[in-house]
């Protein structure tokens, strides 16, 4: 039962990264690939119908952690207190930027919100990537399962650690490149003409960087979490996930070369899901790794809610998840084809 909920949490977080990832990426890129108001509105028309629903995956992931692993949620969110509020404020600005931009036609109003949207769309993957880096590196959990971290210390990745050090910044930087690349493949799929051409060039460059940075980050991980890398190559599930990631990367390359737009986007999604799943499979059952004493780690077993809660959740979660997928499919079906800039006042 605990294993199932661990898997559900990974699915929800993976869904969040892939879905909100494409609109983060598109948001970070739109200042560069869309150069006038019509082009900007084409990008916004492409992500507008989805962004809010995509963000719900974050809330639903939080909800799943809350109900199944309350101690992990409590310790993690309070320990990363300051970073969490940076994320929350960035999410507020981002939602306001995309929702309020189209209400006023004045060029300055729009340019200002475009800038806000671009900057926070870039900052969020950096913060989320650094967060993942923290989970891999570990945090100084006390024996009763709490911790607190400064935003940074001496950037050395050795205790006393901060939220930001060379490893977590590297993880954040990789996340930025990967998420922006992901957004580029989405724009290639959903836009046409000049925006598509520029997005395609961006996707090629960025995915080339991903292919170089991924092994480098893996190498860096050797210095902060050796057991995880050993597990990654010895556990069948993580090997399978790595295979999916590599296949995804190949699909991106093939899709971009042969102008198979959906293929490159799907490949990009598979790549992201693959590395996340491989990470999860190789750290399982650890959810919040403790350093220097790994025995203090919060795991799926010692930090889960009671069996009553986990069983009760199984009654409704599958139905709710199926419904969410139906809504998502409905949205993609309704908005199939290329996104066109909406008439003034009738879209994002």
């Amino acid at each position: 039962m605990v294993e199932i909920w661990f898997a559900i949490a990974v699915v929800m977080i993976g869904g969040y990264v892939v879905l909100d990832g494409f609109d983060f990426g598109a948001g970070a890129l739109h200042l560069f690939v869309a150069r006038n108001d019509t082009e900007r509105r084409q990008v916004l028309a492409a992500i507008g119908p989805y962004w809010d629903g995509n963000e719900v995956w974050l809330l639903a992931s939080g909800g799943v952690l809350f109900l199944a692993f309350p101690k992990v949620l409590a310790s993690g969110l309070s320990g990363f207190y300051f970073a969490i509020f940076l994320v929350l404020w960035a999410l507020i600005l981002r939602g306001i930027a995309i929702e309020f931009r189209s209400h006023v036609e004045a060029p300055l109003w729009r340019a200002a919100w475009d800038a806000v949207f671009g900057v926070v769309s870039l900052a969020l993957p950096l913060l989320f990537g650094a967060a993942l880096g923290n989970l891999v590196r570990g945090v100084p959990l006390s024996s009763d399962g709490w911790f607190t971290l400064a935003l940074f210390t001496d950037f050395s990745a050795r205790p006393p650690v901060g939220i930001l050090d060379w490893y977590t910044i590297a993880a954040g930087a990789f996340a930025v490149v990967a998420i922006v690349a992901h957004g580029a493949t989405f724009l290639v799929w959903k836009t046409d003409a000049a925006v598509q051409a520029r997005s395609r060039r961006a996707a090629i460059t960025l995915y080339a960087m991903v292919a170089i940075l991924w092994p480098l980050l893996t190498l860096a991980t050797w210095f902060v979490n050796r057991p995880m890398l050993t597990a990654a190559v010895s556990r069948p599930l993580s090997l399978l996930a790595l295979l999916v990631a590599v296949a995804g990367l190949a699909a991106v390359a093939a899709g971009l070369r042969r102008h198979r737009e959906l293929m490159s986007f799907a490949g990009s999604a598979a790549f992201i899901l693959g590395i996340l799943a491989a990470t999860a499979a190789s750290i399982f059952p650890v959810m919040l790794r403790a350093i220097p004493d790994e025995a203090l780690s919060l795991t799926a077993y010692n930090a889960s809610a009671g069996p009553g809660s986990l069983r009760a959740g199984m009654w409704w979660w599958p139905a709710g998840f199926a419904l969410a997928l139906v809504y998502l499919a409905t949205l993609f079906a309704l908005h199939r084809g290329k996104a066109a800039a909406a008439r003034q006042g009738e879209g994002y």
Partner: protein, 456 residues
């Protein structure tokens, strides 16, 4: 200053009060929009669709504010109330996750279609979309109220071996009597806000002599829903809620009424100031016997006063609780009066001529917001000193590793950010109101009218 608890409480209180300014309107409007779209389909009169479209745009702006200010709420359980999250997560995590899965996915998927999809969708599909938003927002409220109801009156749990709460009965938790009563009261109160806002805009147009046909429509819909909802917020929903408080939180009831001594024929306090030092109510005006009757059904029922309870179970801010409750109840009574008079005038078809009454209706819209806020303050202050009633004290629920300066910093951050958001919100909503309810293909988009020239 050095005790983080105060700052944790202030930050949560501030962010939740600010957040709830928006959902109370969207939940009320969601119902009114469905009513308008239904009338449009019944009558075939496209002006109903214009009315609905206008309110959908207001709904959209409010909804966006509700979404962005709502996201921090879910996270603050973990960031600021980590011990509480660890203790109760196995229970309230259920409803918070359900809200995401069942309500937010529904709302977020269909909001764009409701706001921007009128041309893309058939009339029938657009109508169904408005119903989807209504269902989504009212479902979302249920899960949140259910979460709060557990904190007010925990049911369906047991205390596990590690000292945290474990779910025993999902059904008992989801359908607790407290949740049902509190939900009914909360939703009716949200409709009161929606109705007063729709009425106020109608009154504004009528007084300005613009959009006169829509002004009459807004007034009719607003006054009729407002009259029904104002009545229902007192009876049966408010009454039901009060009886539950009397039964399960008698010490909170005593504090709400500033009642220190016990006894039968307990009176309901209209005016008075609780005096904690002397343990009495100063300068009271009381209707004798009514509290006994409302709380327990007979005038002779004994209503216990604060002194009958151990001091460490008294709510920790009795004055604020007392005044919140009386502000809510007083305003609630006023709403019945205002909407009753307006309803009578509307029934006689004379409301549009009564400029004095229109002025009252135009200026009355902030008061339901105050009443809703005061109502939630009554519920939350009455719950004190408990975080989960009888099980965990508020003082034991905060995050163990977060310092007071850190919370103060984020509280100041929220204050600044929310101030700016508030300005943006007022700017955009006033543009929409200035633009007014115009037909789909007439008058052009709002952006064609810089400065918000009205098309009346």
């Amino acid at each position: 200053m050095s005790d983080p608890l105060l700052w944790h409480r202030l930050q949560f209180a501030f962010t939740i009060v600010y957040h709830y300014l928006f959902p109370q309107l969207t939940m009320g409007l969601a119902l009114i929009i469905v009513v308008m779209k239904t009338m449009g389909r019944r009558s075939g009169n496209p002006r109903w669709d214009d009315a609905a479209r206008f309110w959908i745009r207001i709904f959209g702006i409010n909804f966006a504010m509700g979404v962005v200010t709502g996201v921090p709420m879910e996270f603050q359980f973990g960031t600021n109330w980590a011990r509480f999250s660890e203790f109760a997560g196995g229970i309230i995590g259920q409803t918070l996750a359900m809200e995401g899965i069942f309500a937010f996915f529904l709302e977020s998927s269909f909001l764009g279609l409701l706001v921007f999809g009128e041309r893309r969708l058939s009339a029938r599909a657009h109508y169904l979309t408005s119903i989807a938003l209504f269902v989504g927002s009212w479902l979302s409220a249920y899960f949140i109220v259910c979460t709060n109801a557990f904190m007010q009156h925990p049911v369906g749990y047991e205390i596990g071996a590690n000292g945290t709460l474990q779910l025993v009965s999902l059904r008992a938790f989801l359908f607790s009597p407290w949740a049902l009563a509190q939900y009914a009261h909360t939703m009716v109160a949200a409709v009161v806000t929606g109705a007063f806002v729709v009425t106020a805009v109608g009154a504004y147009y009528a007084l300005q002599r613009v959009h006169l046909e829509q002004a009459a429509r807004f007034l009719r819909v607003g006054v009729v829903t407002g009259a029904i909802a104002s009545l229902m917020s007192a009876f049966p929903t408010g009454d039901l809620q009060a009886k539950l408080v009397a039964r399960y939180q008698p010490v909170a009831l005593a504090a709400m009424e500033g009642r220190f001594e016990s006894g039968p024929m307990a009176g309901i306090v209209l005016i008075g100031q609780p005096n904690l030092r002397e343990e009495r109510l100063d300068n009271p005006i009381v209707v004798p016997g009514f509290l006994s009757f409302l709380a327990y059904g007979t005038f002779h029922s004994n209503v216990r006063g604060l002194k009958a309870f151990p001091r460490d179970t008294w709510p920790d801010n009795i004055e604020l609780l007392y005044y919140s409750f009386h502000v809510m109840a007083g305003l609630g009574t006023l709403f019945i009066l205002i909407m009753g008079v307006a309803g009578l005038l509307e029934w006689r078809r004379r409301l549009l001529e009564q400029r004095g009454m229109l002025w009252v209706l135009m200026l009355a819209f902030p008061f339901p917001y105050i009443a809703n806020t005061a109502g939630w303050m009554t519920a939350e202050l009455g719950r004190q000193p408990w975080l989960v009633y009888g099980l965990m004290r508020t003082a034991d629920g905060a995050s163990p590793t977060v310092h007071s300066g850190t919370v103060l910093f984020t509280l100041i951050g929220f204050t600044g950010l929310y101030f700016v958001l508030g300005l943006l919100f007022l700017f955009l909503v006033s543009r929409e109101i200035a633009h007014g309810p115009v037909p789909l293909d007439a008058g052009g988009p709002i952006h064609a009218a810089p400065g918000g020239v009205s098309h009346g």
